[in-house]
Symmetry: C2
Subunit: 364 residues, 2 copies
């Protein structure tokens, strides 16, 4: 059972839902029970997470659903594609799962994104619940209803905006998270301060060491505050027609790193960490932020154990990869840049200037 549970509400009319944050939530059936589900449950997880938490979740859900099935996917961003998604559809159809079936995404961002898109598409839409087990998924990808798979020509190119019915972030799952993935998750935590809340950047600076040491109260606050800030943005712009794009700070450069290296070589959070430094550099070269803010962000990224330089790809390759980003319009790359601490703006920039940033920020 969980001791202290925090709740963040995502306000989206009839698609509203809660994020619950606390230790031991996977073992507490009452939070799932409350949703009044009537059908089967299908747990979607991966081969890394299954041995750790699938049995506990299954036991909990057996008190909620009359039948609980499971499908175990291969682990990793390289598998975030159609063939793996189809394993979920096969599992649903082999078990004759109907429209009342509920999918549970037990895992990190890849499992969450694929399970969400499977739920959006199976019989044109069934319910799903996010049970994120990585810091990155708890602070970012499990919240807000962005679901997708990758296409060989671009990341997250095929997907849907489709909200879960509940997000259950069990802090106990972070105990088993490899240090590299903890760092990757911290990249998304660090992100929120510069774009939306200068005070949260101060807090992260003061607590990044505690976070790296998995101090539970620090982690609980980081997850809660990240979700609150994301909830504010998503509540105003669910389908990313404007404001929501600021949550992609660091992601345009980051996606180029991920795609350029082959999905899975860099963790998403690592690429975002380096991408934020590139975007900050570009903001500085455009006169939007001063060197002291750029230095602060670089230091906190460094203390989070994240790479400070991108991989050694030609600047032209970065630019090509960024032109297929979903924020691009008519071939023009739209960057999320900083306009002082706690404020983001969308802007394009001359290729030559972007190339300068890349050259100075890649490991040669």
């Amino acid at each position: 059972m969980s001791s202290s549970i925090q709740k963040v509400a995502i306000d989206l009319g009839d698609r509203s839902y809660d994020i619950l944050i606390g230790r031991g939530l996977i073992g507490a059936s009452e939070h799932f029970q409350r949703l009044g589900f009537k059908g089967h449950a299908l747990i979607v997880t991966n081969e890394t997470v299954a041995p750790l938490y699938a049995q506990a979740l299954r036991q909990t859900l057996e008190a909620v659903h009359r039948r609980v099935d499971m499908v175990v996917l291969p682990d990793g961003e390289a598998f975030k594609q159609w063939d793996t998604l189809n394993l979920i559809f096969n599992a649903l159809l082999e078990r004759a799962c109907d429209r009342k079936t509920v999918l549970y995404a037990l895992g990190g961002g890849v499992v969450g994104d694929m399970t969400g898109f499977a739920a959006a598409s199976y019989m044109r839409g069934v319910d799903y619940v996010q049970v994120p087990t990585t810091l990155l998924a708890q602070v970012d990808s499990s919240v807000g209803g962005k679901t997708a798979i990758n296409h060989p020509m671009g990341k997250n190119m095929i997907g849907a905006f489709y909200q879960p019915r509940l997000v259950v972030a069990d802090l106990a799952t972070l105990d088993t998270l490899p240090q590299r993935e903890l760092s990757a998750g911290l990249a998304e935590v660090i992100k929120y301060g510069p774009i939306a809340d200068a005070a949260f950047l101060d807090w992260v600076e003061a607590h990044v060491d505690a976070l790296m040491q998995r101090d539970e109260s620090a982690l609980a606050y980081a997850v809660k505050r990240s979700c609150e800030l994301k909830a504010q943005v998503v509540g105003k712009d669910e389908r990313e027609s404007g404001l929501r794009a600021i949550l992609n700070f660091g992601h345009t450069f980051g996606h180029a790193i991920e795609a350029g290296m082959g999905y899975g070589a860099w963790l998403h959070g690592e690429a975002v960490g380096t991408g934020m430094l590139m975007a900050t550099d570009l903001s500085m070269r455009l006169g939007l932020v001063d060197a002291s803010l750029a230095r602060r962000i670089e230091q906190v990224v460094a203390r989070a154990g994240l790479p400070l330089k991108g991989p050694d790809l030609p600047a032209a390759r970065y630019l090509d990869l960024m032109r297929v980003d979903k924020k691009a319009e008519a071939g023009e790359i739209r960057f999320v840049l900083l306009d002082g601490a706690g404020r983001a703006v969308m802007k394009s920039a001359p290729d030559a200037l972007v190339a300068e940033v890349i050259e100075s920020r890649t490991a040669r």
Copy 2:
């Protein structure tokens, strides 16, 4: 240019749109112009329709969009699956199409369903327009936002509810429609009377010969009235949580015929025609309709040139295939049955009774 244009409005709040019906609409850019699109256009069509109408649509759209591209899919229900859908994604990504891109579905139900799902999923959603070129698509599948692909284990199992921005039904395209496909389209026209409008069943009885001879004013009225009836139902229940399921009259048996014979062997409309007779038989055996109504429906289906008996598959095979229907719940098949003329109800029925219907309605 088109002479007389009819308009049916689909009222779905901020997802509302018009259906335009008339001769020559593909050549009239003003209806497309009015939507104020800013991005590229991608025409999605198939190898049968492309030589007939693609050039005309392209020319029209060149007055609306700064760039018009085209992707030509193989023709047929057998191709309504992931690999073909991916041809659309490839075309979009190869041309670096952004979120402002508009997809145009030029073809029948298969092209419309796949283009709609591609639009729903590409970058999590872009706009699309339906330009249906078959009677079936004009009276049914292009209206209401149901999009999908088939899965080897079930028809339309993977898809989305995603509304088009406009439906343009050019009656001139029916001139080139093979007679077999005209008949298949008439099955969906016939459908609306028994489930929703007894007076329309009277009208169809009086005009089925004229429709078979492609009398233009009869076709125009059949398309308009079918769309009006569909609009009423969809306006009340966009996501098929209840009422909308009545539009699947004949489809539960019909899907079993299509899947059991292999997609494409029977046309969808042919399977629905025979499926309606099976569903009417079942309604009669349950005491919901009398023999005279059943006889009327059978006669109009016969006069529309549709098969009166299903393929010779064992009743158990039909039942197995129907249990994976999207309307099934906990393995129980939910049939759309008639409760007198002009009124449909959702009901289950004992397997033995359903088997009797199948045995008496299959060609042995």
